[in-house]
């Protein structure tokens, strides 16, 4: 009896399900960043707003990468429904705290898919995920660095204005 499941798709149903969950997670991240960009813009933090616009674009790019991979491997990519995006934040700092939480949760989620791939010996998907793991190093670094600015600059006086200015300059260029 032919292995028809394998003939039709390179990835297992479980991996396909996890990757579709990740598509949704990336879409959610993108929407959250858009909401953060809006909040920052409305409150006069223009550099941070631009930073979050860029982050939203990046998350959308990640979403499409997962989406196309599922399709290329013969799976069924599901366009996700994204609802319940928080639109208001209590403070400038809270925006960055939540951005870091979001990145940590994305890293964890990719690690979970990786662990499942290892169990199934799905080396093809593992190789695909390597790019995302490296990307998460950058994403988490940037989110952590932004929060660090609140500590080193301080929010008093023109502190928030300074923080906003420096957020736009955060870069990760480690070759490691």
């Amino acid at each position: 009896m032919k292995d028809l499941l394998r003939i039709k798709s390179l990835i297992s149903t479980e991996i396909e399900g996890l990757l579709n969950q990740q598509v949704k997670k990336e879409a959610l991240s993108s929407s959250i960043y858009l909401s953060m960009a809006s909040w920052c813009n409305r409150n006069g933090y223009d550099f941070s707003s631009d930073y979050f616009f860029k982050q939203a674009e990046e998350e959308r790019h990640h979403q499409l990468k997962f989406y196309k991979y599922i399709l290329d491997m013969g799976g069924n990519a599901i366009s996700p429904e994204v609802t319940g995006i928080k639109q208001e934040y209590n403070s400038f700092r809270e925006v960055f705290e939540e951005a870091l939480d979001q990145e940590i949760s994305v890293t964890q989620s990719i690690k979970n898919i990786y662990a499942r791939c290892m169990k199934e010996q799905d080396f093809v998907t593992m190789e695909f995920l390597n790019w995302f793991l490296k990307e998460q190093r950058e994403e988490e670094y940037k989110a952590r660095r932004a929060l660090e600015l609140f500590e080193v600059i301080g929010e008093e006086g023109t502190g928030r204005w300074q923080i906003d200015k420096h957020v736009g300059q955060i870069k990760y260029d480690s070759e490691a």
Binding site: M1, R6, N76
Partner: protein
């Protein structure tokens, strides 16, 4: 596995219960589901959709439901020629049949992988 030969195609038994059976046809790359008084042909996508829609039915909720609605579920699969109108007992039986089938297909996949790794 037991094989059945017909005049035109070769069907392999994938899984059988007292309520029905699922066969695989390698030539047509599809499955034949013998259930509910009919034999229906399903390709890969449709079989996955059938599994998804059957698994999504909340049997426990339906059993606890005390309204006067009939205990009947209509399983309609988008872009598929077949539709099932089943009672709760039939749904349980179809779920069992599909679960067994996918375990067997998974087992077949594992066997193929092992054979490939031995051969290479």
């Amino acid at each position: 596995m037991i094989t059945t030969t017909t005049t035109t195609t070769h069907w392999t038994d994938v899984f059988k219960t007292s309520a029905g059976a699922i066969y695989q046809c390698d030539t047509e790359r599809c499955w034949y589901v013998d259930f509910g008084g009919k034999v229906a042909k399903f390709d890969y996508r449709c079989l996955l959709k059938l599994r998804k829609s059957v698994y999504h039915i909340d049997i426990e909720q339906a059993l606890l439901n005390t309204t006067k609605d009939p205990d009947v579920e209509i399983i309609f699969i988008c872009a598929c020629d077949h539709c099932y109108v089943l009672s709760l007992l039939q749904i349980i039986a179809l779920k069992e049949l599909l679960e067994g089938t996918f375990v067997m297909l998974e087992l077949n996949h594992i066997l193929h992988e092992r054979l490939c790794s031995i051969a290479s």
